[in-house]
Structures are given as structure tokens and as C-alpha cells.
Amino acid sequence: MPETHHSSTQDVSSKRLLFFFNHIRYAKDLRGSYLVSDIDSETYEDRSQALSRNILETRMQLPARKFTQVDQLLEIPGISSVTLGELQNFLGQSAAELFKQDMYKQVILSNFECAYQKITFEERALFEATTGDRTALSEAVAAHLVLESIGPLSEVEIRRQIRHSYVDAYTQGHLGSFALALWFYTFALDNWFSFEQVRESTEKYLDVHPLSSDTQTLYLFKGFDNKLLVSGGRTVPDLPVIVNHDEMTVAIWTCLLKD
């Protein structure tokens, strides 16, 4: 069984950094990147537009119109090595963590307890063997959840429910973003956020976006009772599990609404 811990490799963060700068097209693509602070909302639009223009113009002068080395990014007016380091640290976080931060920044408030547990694999072969087989993935998820479970009775029930769940798989991030958004939406049905609002965040998480270049698959374990994992608020059925093929991680999401 792989150990659970937080880690990110240099390769992933550099890849994400280049992907980020190669996919900036509009000022809106910078939203949530921390590259342009949105605290001062009066100048935010102007600064975002200026920076996105600078990124685009520098990129257009390169062979194949793409950044291929991190050093090339220092040619962009307004990007210093300090800024780049901060952004690299930011993008070096796991995709799940970036999504969680984006959700709290753009969609949900502190009355939601949105959290994830992460299984990290060190070896590609073991990762592929586990995530490439539905039964192996289910067993890995159940085993991980049992470690975090709240009592011996729930251990049995977790294993039973995971084993008997119908698993809905979304290999295309774009389609998965709708399914994951619906899961969040059923918590509050327009009371706290609209479907479109939450889908914008799930799209950033699961589909191609400057902030998220990873290939990911969403598995929804239908009917799983999340009360087995969290308590003290409102939950909805189904357990979202996201396999990140670049990070070699599996993120298991839970959410609680204290309404």
C-alpha cells in the first residue's frame, strides 16, 4: 500500500510553469494565479491586461511561439526571478490543493468544509497497476479511507459501500467538470453558489486551463454515504475520487455544509 504524504516534484512544477505561460491568452486566464493580486480591484483589470499582453508578445517572438525553458520566462516585462519563484511554488502545489484554494476564493465560504485526502505513489508501475484497474482502485480507496475512519463499524461499512458502489468514470476532464460541479451543486442548490460558478472552478481543476495542465480522471463512487467520513453538517451521496496521472496521486474529496 502506498504511503500517504504531500509531495511535488520539480519536474511537475516546471512543466506546469511552462504550460501556464504557454496557455495565457487573455487577462482572465491570470485570475487566481496570484501573479496579479486582485486585492486592489480598481487596477486589477488594467494590470492583468498589461501582463497578459506582455506574455503573449514575448511568446510570439520565440521559435514555435512557445516557451520551452524556464529562463525564457524572465524575458517577459514585469516578470522577475522573485515573481517566478513565487509562482513556481504556487503551481508546485498539488492540483487538488489549487482547486481547494480556488473553491474557497471564488465559490464557497467558511460554512463549507471542503477537504481531500491524497494517496501519493512513488512508482509509476504501481500507480498504473492501481489506477488502471477498477477493482484495484476501489481497494486502494477503501484501504485509505479505513485508515481515516471514525470507528470499527464504519470500517466494515466503508469497505462494503466502496465494493458495491457503481463507479461513474469521466476520462475527459471537460465532461468530468460537469459531474463534479453537480456533486457540489446538490449541497445547496443555488443557495450559496450557482452551478455555473462552481463549474468554472471544476473546469479549471479537471480540464485544460493555464492553472491545471495535468491529465486527470474523475471517478464518482455512486451512492457512497459520506456520513461515514465526515460529520457535523450536511453531506450528499457519492464519493468523488480524482486520479492525477501527472502527479501520480489519487485525491478523495469530502465536503460538509454547515448551513
Binding site: 457503481y166 475527459q172 465532461l175 460537469f178 453537480l182 446538490t186
Partner: protein, 261 residues
Amino acid sequence: MIPENLSPLVEKRLFHFLNRARTARAITKVDLTKSPAPGKADYGIGETVAQRIIDKRMQLPRRRFTELSQLEGIAGLGKDKISDVIETLEIPAAEAFRRAMYNGVIFEENFELNYFSKKLADTSGLGYRSTQTDLLKSLLLDSLGDWVASDATPEHLEQLKGEIESAYVDTYSNSAEADSYAWALWFYLFDADNWFTYEQVRLPIARYLGGYFYGDEQTFHLIKGVKNSLYLKGGITVKDLPVVVNHDEQSLSLWMGQLFD
């Protein structure tokens, strides 16, 4: 003026429609006429008569129509006009939805959208708070021969039976709005964004499941993992069987689709 032998269902729908209208325009508006068959769109209630209907309603106890006789004596609301409205309200909700889908969302040339409807004696076991999934499955299995392609082999039927028996039945939060997002995703999976956008397909679903102007109470279920390809052949299909239970019509509709791309 009111046709005789009006069914309780149509009477309920008529009251719902007239009591729900906040403005005259809501009565004359095409929203009512988008779903019905071409040629039935214009039942000829203009804004003047519509305003008279609303004025009459405002004079009633609780400002609501509760008796058909209350519609008598509204100038301009003759037998023909009221008959046209009634004819519209007699269309089963599923059929109205199917027509609405072909009216601006999907194309007859490349998308086959069909439903199989079954009348039920009692739908109380199929409400949101009391859905008996075994009952739902047994109703579908009882009618297997009616909605599966006539050339399906015994092996096909056996496979489908097994899939339905073991399927997970998804329901969505007692909310037509949430249902509409779930069913829209089912349509969207056919061909993401090539022929229609997610929002384009979601809006008629929200109107249908929200009860339209009919006001029908409905519940939506997705029978997960069951393949469409056993009763539809030749086109692109997706998994999961959408089922709509209409508690006012006392009916169940099973939906099937295939795209010829």
C-alpha cells in the same frame, strides 16, 4: 363554453396555467406553445383577453380559479379559444418535451430521441422521498418486451435484465433544477458541444421536469450503467437510462437517444 368531460388532469393543468400567469403576456406568450405540434401554436388569446382573464382572477376568493364555471362570461374567451388551450394541455408532458427538444436543440436528421411510456395505477412508491428502486426496476422489467427492439435476441434480453436488476438508481435532491443538470449531462455526453451546448439542452429539460406550465409533479431517475445499445441500433448511444415518473399523469417514461454523427 367549457368542453364536457374534461379530465381532472387537464382541469388541474388549466387552473395551474391560468393561476400562475402574473401578466397577460404570460398567457399569450409562446412558452406555452413551444412544445405543442406545429400549427397548434397560436390559439389566439391576445393580450386584451388575457388581461380580462387576469382581472377576473383577481376578483376571485384567494385570487385563484378553482371552478371551470369561473371562466364563463369572460369577454372574448369563447369555446374555440378555450378548446385550443385545452388541446395543448392534453398533450402528455413527455411528448411536449420531445417536441420542444426538436424545436431548436436537436435535429430530426441526426438525433433520434424516443420514449416509452407506461401508465401506472399508483406512483406513490416512486416519489423523491420514497423511491423504491426495486419497484422502479420491476416496472421496467415487466415491460421489457414493449420497449426493447423487436429483433433483440433472448441473450440480449437476459443481459439487459441483469443490468437493470443490478443497476444503481440515481436521484437528485428533490429538485427539478438539479435533475435538469444531471439529465443535461446525459445528453451532453453524446457529443459534447458539437451539436448543442450544455445550457441549450438543459433549459427545455428544466422546463419539462419543473412541470412546464402544466404544473405536473414529476420525479427523475437515472438507471446507471445500463446500455442504450440494446434497443437502439446504428447510432452513438451513451450509458444510463433516464426515467421520468409523472405523478399527475400516473405514468412512467423511459427515454432513449441515439446520434447519427
